[in-house]
Symmetry: C2
DNA sequence: GTGAAAATGAAAGTCAATTTCAAAAATAAG
DNA sequence: CTTATTTTTGAAATTGACTTTCATTTTCAC
């Protein structure tokens, strides 16, 4: 049976994926999925775990970890590895590639897309006869607020 | 005393840095430095350690590790963190920023620079009022050889 | 040479990520 | 509604790359 995801919500899509894998539905996992997908952040497991525990103190770290991995496999989350060495996950609401500006002062993350950069990347790949599968573009620096803060303290 | 590095070899520069820090010269460290700087690769500690041991079996992992950190502090090496989760070091022969194309099949790494991309990055940073300190641009895919290999096996 | 100071390396410690496994929860079968 | 089967859970153990420790060895200034 072919499945049309076009009219499915992300959560439904997740249930469907689970069904196809012979998974069972659990209260805790559903809560994690719903909470994560509703947010619009780049969560580390730890951060997500801490927030979830406020409401659901019996959720374990492993469950959060495994749920994020599941969502990533299902294509509902994307795992990001920025320079701080902690994996972060963001929901994929509508497939829509983007790159990141990251403030090394406060951790603020801004997303951007730039068609010209993407094009130039392809030109480079072609030049070296590579077929690219993915790329990573991250700009690290200080956001406006952190620049101001820094000026004050010096 | 101000030091002019312009006419110094990288190794001399290293000795100078060591001197300024009150370090002593050791046979093993010198060998590691000389071997590493002569190569033109992106070495992981492990890889470098294994190669060095072929000639100098008494060199320890810690010494290789510490020497690479030293070189990085001295500005003679640059630490890179690609997607495989293992830190790599490359000599900085002439200060010269570049980005990387990485083959996920064989590990081959190609360096490139692109002024237009750099410029566009600055435009983006400006747009969001960021002051960037560094950036990371990595293109992952298959090199020509690995594409061929893949076609054969399918 | 001698002694103070730095370098070394085996082993231990870190830290996030990942796996294990016995108990709990969900679902299928009766 | 039971009972049986399968999946899920979480505390604890393990992993793997990195980093530090500390007793011993090497370097080097005198
Ligand atoms: Mn994002
Ligand atoms: Mn390079
Ligand atoms: Zn900031
Ligand atoms: Zn290749």
């Amino acid at each position: 049976m072919k499945v049309n995801f076009k009219n499915k919500s992300a959560l439904d899509q997740f249930k469907l994926e689970k069904y196809k894998r012979g998974l069972k539905t659990s209260k805790k996992r559903s809560y994690i999925v719903q909470y994560f997908l509703a947010a619009d952040r780049h969560y580390s497991i730890e951060e997500l775990y801490d927030e979830l525990r406020a409401e659901h103190p019996r959720i374990g770290y492993s469950t959060v970890y495994r749920t994020m991995k599941l969502l990533t496999e299902c294509g509902l989350a994307s795992e990001r590895n920025f320079a701080d060495g902690v994996a972060r996950f963001e929901p994929i609401h509508r497939t829509h590639h983007h790159d990141h500006l990251i403030c090394t002062g406060c951790g603020k993350i801004i997303e951007f897309t730039n068609r010209n950069i993407e094009r130039l990347q392809q030109t480079i790949a072609r030049k070296y006869k590579f077929v690219t599968a993915s790329h990573k573009l991250e700009l690290y620096g200080l956001c406006a607020a952190c620049q101001k803060k820094k000026r004050k303290n010096s």
